[in-house]
Amino acid sequence: MLRLFFIFFRIGLFSIGGGYAMIPLIQQDLVGAGYMTLTEVTDLVAISQMTPGPIAVNAATFAGMHTMGVAGAVVATLGVVLPCALISVVVARFFFSRMDSALVQGALYGMRPVVVSLIAGAMLTFAVSSLLMPGGGLEAGAAVIFAGVFTLALVKETSPAVLFLLSALAGLAFYAP
């Protein structure tokens, strides 16, 4: 149990770039320690993406639950969340007190456009995987959902909760058997 905690503590501490960056580490550590097989890690990745919430937290809960039940789930999740929460509080303290300095403002001037492009990159990844058919060509249902949600979000400022609900319902309408 303690080992599980430290595996995830280490993953939370050392991976930069969020959920997807953690997956190779999770694979290495859990398969290496004999907690999971490679197929199970593939399932873990798929399930973590299909469920709400941060991918890394989902993955930690899944891995903990799968190997040691409810206690394992709590321990693994604490392990992954604690280091980043602690680091973030320390950084927040530092950051907000120096936010107006020329150094921080100059750096942020260059960092902000990069952040927008990273979000654009994530958007393109989702768009390509959902809007394009494997052989090429546009997935009509998904395209309708994309256009509808985009318009609602931008023009009507509809709340994300409603947008997610509508997307899931529209997905059911278009793709359910």
Binding site: G18, I47, V89, G141, V149, F164, S167, G171
Partner: protein, 186 residues
């Protein structure tokens, strides 16, 4: 400007409920999550300035760990100090923990269920659209001159075609941004 001296429990409670809701409804991982936090906290509730929210996202992406946790902790700290940071971390974590505990029990059925997959297809398109709207909205605020547009384009092309880790792009942006400001170019 630090967090408030005396904790405002009403605000902290509201913050906890908001993050709980965001943790429960948001599909698409960390960036989608900070995008939803931005929408709720700076758009709807006016808890935080939209420009500051972009800065928080920039910093949380360059820290180790889970982007959604980093982003919500920094936002929570800004709104209500250390207690705000703690409830924000709990808020985005608890829904995942509970949902995944159940899903793990029968994950094969979940993964192979045609209804789940149909809903997920819709959700993926919805996440893409939501992120696209965030890009447009943030783009309008951030891309104010020729240099920021150039930084945006260069970072997008590099991240799409080279697979270079996001942290290097953010760091490069920071160094160049400071240099340009310092040198009086921008």
């Amino acid at each position: 400007m630090d967090g408030p001296k005396k904790p405002d429990w009403r605000l902290i409670g509201e913050l906890f409920l908001s993050t709980l809701k965001i943790g429960l409804i948001t599909f698409g991982g960390g960036l989608a999550m900070v995008a939803v936090i931005e929408r709720e906290f700076s758009g709807k509730k006016k808890w935080i300035d939209p420009d500051e929210m972009i800065d928080i996202i920039a910093v949380s992406q360059s820290l180790p760990g889970v982007i959604a946790i980093n982003g919500s902790v920094m936002t929570g700290y800004r709104i209500a100090g250390v207690a705000g940071a703690a409830v924000a971390a709990l808020g985005v974590t608890i829904p995942s923990l509970v949902v995944l505990m159940f899903v793990t029990l029968f994950y094969r059925q979940f993964r192979d269920n045609p209804w789940v997959n149909a809903a997920f297809k819709g959700l993926s398109a919805g996440v893409a659209a939501l992120l696209a709207s965030v890009v447009v909205r943030m783009g309008k605020r951030v891309l104010k001159d020729v240099w920021t547009v150039l930084f945006f384009g260069a970072a997008l092309v590099i991240s799409l075609y080279s697979g270079l880790h996001a942290i290097w792009l953010i760091l490069a942006g920071g160094v160049l941004g400071y240099a340009f400001k310092r040198g009086g170019v921008a």
